[in-house]
């Protein structure tokens, strides 16, 4: 399984309530009849980390290798959204 915290879009320090709220919000957007794959991914992620014991167990026993998206999720905290550099934009416009 990919990082369940990334799937639920919560920090690794999130508590039971935060995780549950995130889960309920996500499955509202992807109920099983509309997007079964995504629903199952979200459900699996929730079941893995919904309790304190579960989170500890996940940290102890999860062997899955991180995906490139997991790596991205880790470094994205250093990102600061900003408008596009004028130079880059014009290069895109003028590219042959």
């Amino acid at each position: 399984m990919s990082n369940p915290y990334r799937i639920l879009d919560v920090p690794t320090t999130a508590d039971d309530e935060t995780i549950r709220a995130a889960y309920l919000s996500l499955i509202r957007d992807c109920p099983p009849e509309r997007d079964r794959k995504r629903f199952e991914r979200v459900r699996t992620a929730f079941e893995a980390v919904s309790t304190a014991r579960g989170r500890l167990a996940h940290a102890l026993f999860d062997k899955t290798a991180p995906t490139p998206e997991d790596v991205l999720a880790e470094v994205v905290a250093a990102f600061q959204p900003r408008p596009v550099d004028d130079k880059h934009l014009r290069r895109v416009l003028g590219a042959k």
Binding site: L60, A65, P68, L72, V84, V92
Partner: protein, 843 residues
């Protein structure tokens, strides 16, 4: 004299100029239809040279157009332009068609583009398209004033507004941006720019809005390169990382700008995108290592820790690994061993980790989780509801560290209950109940423990608590109901009818299913002095009528000590006619579901045998026949099973599962009593089952033909017992035997060996006696090989004792004994002190 006939060479196609026009025209048309534009161009050129027929000229124009498109798609824009000009010149087609104008822009031939724009006869749609493509390149040069354009050209009139909008966006002034965008008219050459800038401005605040905006823009337009970046930016979740790969370098930088990626991290991200969707862990690790200086430390640490277990044994050689705390090292090694499937090593690492963590006050919960994980590893079958000894120890220890885990209590209590260790089970229940007073699972265990200990009132008390929490819990009702029935049956058997009546009256509160109510009705029949036939018939009808009802009646009769045959006669069941297949299948289902043992079921089936045999020829499906046979196998009714499987093999010859069940029915499940002919048949059936994908049958037969060795996991090991031979050779078995012998007699190993050589028959017979006949035969099977062993067995007609005698003779007479070289053996043993008191006599 004969001549050899020369083989003519394959007929070579003539050059176009040598072909007649009709053939040439046909070839040209075929090449054009097949999109072989280069070939078609050559052929049509030749045709047009001969005669300027309209069809040929049009064909040539189309070939030129196709070929030009091909070249442009490969980036050979100048070559595409040249072909298009040829098309115009030779075929009289207008230049300003198709993508010519776009190619002009791409090739930097703006001069010619502007000439077209100044041509007043240019159609409006083409003019707008041309202006839009020009617009993008004009905007790329922020300070240049484009020349060659008419002063009233929309490109010039709207340019200041477009430039101002771009500037406002780049400054982040979205209010000004909105104003400038409003000023760009709908039919402006800059209109696509409006959409793109609008989407860009929404990215930070309304991604859905940005997505909706950019979706409205058709692909392939003048501002497509810009739009492609925005489309990547609005991809859901982290899809934009993969989209980086599909953009050119300028697009990637712009996308990373949009995402706010710091410059230092960009090379890392670009390399990450290049790795693809599923790179090997080693590739990711290598990438992280190379860019470690730019990646935030916390992120780097978290990612490396997730990757370490994927690195296998090499994890220990990683320079950073040794710098990690001991606890983390053990954790990573345990996960790495598990990832490699080396569970033995994993177990050791987990144990060390659990020991370490258990000594740290705030890590006891983690230690408990590790112990439970060890219990999972120790369980052979994770579906088992009972713990084996090793798993039990781990779980028990985990509760000392973390006394609040419900599942652990349930597993322990269930295991102790099934092992009839009721006092211990109660002790754990006493710890669990205060912690989980309203837990139906724990209370249910309390019911079962109480029933097992015959504390019926207590059981009822707990049962009522379960029903308060879960009013329709069928299991607890069933437990209490069955317990009351069980008490009533005992009373009926002892002729204490009043007491039995009380139990049955009490049971009414707990019954739910029709079968339970029917059973109650039947048990009430046994309360009457004289048989109430009406009540009996009603009960039997409620219990399923004819075959099923009769079986249930016989089962109950057996439990309460009543004469089954007289009851059967009065039951109203017609058992003389052949029962329909459905009735037999229903009976099989009841047999499979019944909790009673094989003896009770078999006894109840006895009076129905003749009836069931009449059903042999009924039209069963294969699945139903199998269901019936498996039920008979469960009841160990070999007579019926033999009859049914014999019939099954007539209908479905060679079907492996029926072969298996038929052999079991006739000979039982001890391999040594199965004749060689039937073993052959089983072997063939196993292979056939495997071919058919029936792995269950294949496995059952294999287990029957090669029974597993005895389990050596025995805590009652007596060091003075001779050891079982290790897997494999006779030699290692002899080594073990001689070693023990020498120790027992206080001799050297050489002394024991010499005694063996002097009287090998005596020694072999001793070996058989000490290790058991079965073990000896297993060693011999490995020593001789299956084929030879089976041949010897056949010679003995399957008689075990004769076989052993024959094997000992063979070993004594001719077989050379392989004694393993004493590798790393210690020196001669010192004389031993007198043997301990409880040592068995060896001679």
């Amino acid at each position: 004299m004969s001549r050899k006939v020369k083989q003519s060479k394959p007929h070579a196609k003539p050059a176009p100029h040598a072909m007649d026009s009709a053939a040439l025209a046909a070839d040209a048309a075929a090449a054009l239809s097949a999109s072989r534009f280069k070939e078609a161009t050559e052929l049509f050129k030749e045709l047009v040279k001969r005669e300027r027929q309209t069809a040929w000229v049009d064909g040539l124009a189309e070939s030129y157009a196709g070929r030009a498109q091909e070249l442009a798609a490969k980036g050979m824009v100048k070559e595409a332009l040249m072909l298009w000009r040829n098309r115009a010149q030779l075929c009289g087609k207008p230049l300003a068609q198709g993508d010519y104008l776009v190619w002009l822009l791409r090739a930097g031939e703006r001069g010619e583009m502007l000439q077209f724009l100044s041509d007043k006869s240019l159609p409006d749609a083409m003019r707008l398209n041309l202006e839009m493509h020009l617009a993008a390149s004009i905007l790329a040069e922020p300070n240049a004033t484009p020349s060659g354009l008419s002063p009233d050209s929309a490109l010039l009139r709207h340019l200041p507004g477009a430039r101002a909008a771009l500037e406002a966006y780049c400054k982040g002034d979205f209010v000004a941006l909105e104003t400038h965008l409003q000023a760009i008219p709908f039919r402006s050459p800059y209109r696509d720019l409006k959409t793109v800038l609008k989407a860009l401005s929404l990215l930070q605040t309304d991604v859905e809005g940005a997505r909706a905006a950019i979706t409205r823009l058709a692909a392939g337009g003048a501002f497509e390169r810009l739009a492609a970046v925005v489309r990547a930016a609005v991809l859901p979740e982290d899809g934009w990382l993969a989209a980086l790969r599909d953009l050119d370098e300028n697009g990637r930088q712009m996308l990373l700008d949009i995402k706010g990626c710091p410059n230092a991290l960009r090379p890392f991200l670009l390399e990450l995108a290049k790795l693809g969707a599923a790179p090997a862990p080693a590739q990711l690790f290598d990438l992280l290592t190379r860019f470690r200086r730019v990646i935030p430390e916390e992120a780097l640490s978290a990612l490396c820790l997730r990757l370490f277990p994927q690195m296998g044994r090499s994890i220990e050689r990683l320079p950073d690994f040794k710098k990690l705390p001991k606890e983390t090292q053990l954790h990573m090694m345990a996960l790495a061993a598990e990832a490699q499937g080396v569970l033995g090593s994993a177990e050791e690492y987990w144990k060390d980790l659990a020991n370490l963590l258990s000594k740290i006050p705030d890590q006891k919960l983690r230690a408990a989780l590790v112990l439970r994980h060890l219990a999972d590893i120790a369980l052979d079958n994770k579906m088992d509801t009972e713990l084996n000894a090793e798993a039990f120890r781990y779980v028990e220890k985990s509760l000392e560290l973390d006394p609040d885990d419900r599942s652990s209590y349930l597993a322990i209590i269930r295991t102790l209950r099934c092992e009839n260790e009721l006092a211990k089970a109660r002790a754990f229940l006493d710890r669990a109940l205060p912690r989980f007073p309203k837990d139906a699972g724990v209370l249910l265990e309390a019911v079962e423990v109480a029933l097992a200990g015959k504390a019926f009132k207590k059981a009822v008390g707990f049962a009522k608590q379960v029903l308060e929490l879960d009013p329709i819990n069928p299991k607890v009702r069933g437990l209490i109901g069955q317990a009351l029935f069980s008490h009533a049956r005992k009373q009926i058997k002892a002729r204490n009818l009043a007491a039995a009546r009380k139990e049955l009256d009490a049971s009414e509160e707990w019954l739910r299913s029709p079968v339970e109510w029917a059973t109650l009705k039947l048990l009430r029949v046994f309360l009457t002095e004289y048989l109430d036939e009406t009540l009996l018939r009603a009960a039997v009808a409620d219990l399923g009528g004819s075959l099923v009802g009769a079986f249930r009646l016989l089962l109950e009769a057996g439990k309460v000590g009543h004469d089954p045959r007289s009851l059967l006669l009065s039951s109203g069941c017609n058992l003389t006619a052949p029962p329909p297949a459905e009735a037999v299948v229903a009976l099989a289902q009841v047999l499979n579901a019944a909790p009673d043992g094989a003896k009770a079921l078999g006894a109840a089936l006895g009076p129905l045998r003749a009836t069931l045999k009449r059903a042999l020829k009924m039209p069963f499906s294969e699945a139903d026949y199998l269901l019936v046979c498996e039920a008979l196998h469960r009841c160990e009714d070999h007579e019926l099973l033999t009859a049914f499987t014999k019939e099954a093999l007539k209908r479905w010859p060679g079907r492996p599962v029926f072969v298996y069940l038929n052999v079991i029915a006739r000979h039982g499940s001890d391999i040594y009593f199965i004749p060689y002919k039937d073993q052959d048949a089983l072997d063939r059936a196993a292979r056939e089952a495997h071919k058919q994908g029936d792995h269950r049958t294949s496995s059952r037969i294999r287990t029957l033909l090669s029974p597993p060795e005895e389990d050596m996991d025995d805590d009652s090991f007596d060091p003075f017992d001779l050891p079982f031979p290790e897997e494999g050779s006779f030699g290692s078995a002899m080594e073990g035997f001689l070693g023990e012998l020498s120790e027992a007699k206080g001799e050297s190993l050489g002394g024991a060996l010499e005694e063996f050589l002097n009287d090998p028959r005596k020694m072999f017979e001793m070996l058989v006696a000490m290790q058991g006949e079965k073990a000896f035969l297993e060693i011999m099977r490995k020593e001789f090989g299956k084929q030879e062993f089976d041949e010897l067995k056949r010679q003995c007609g399957g008689n075990q004792k004769d076989l052993i005698r024959m094997l000992v003779d063979a070993m004594v007479e001719g077989a050379e004994m392989e004694m393993p070289a004493p590798v790393n053996r210690p020196g001669p043993r010192k004389p031993k002190s007198p043997a301990p008191k409880n040592q068995k006599d060896l001679f």
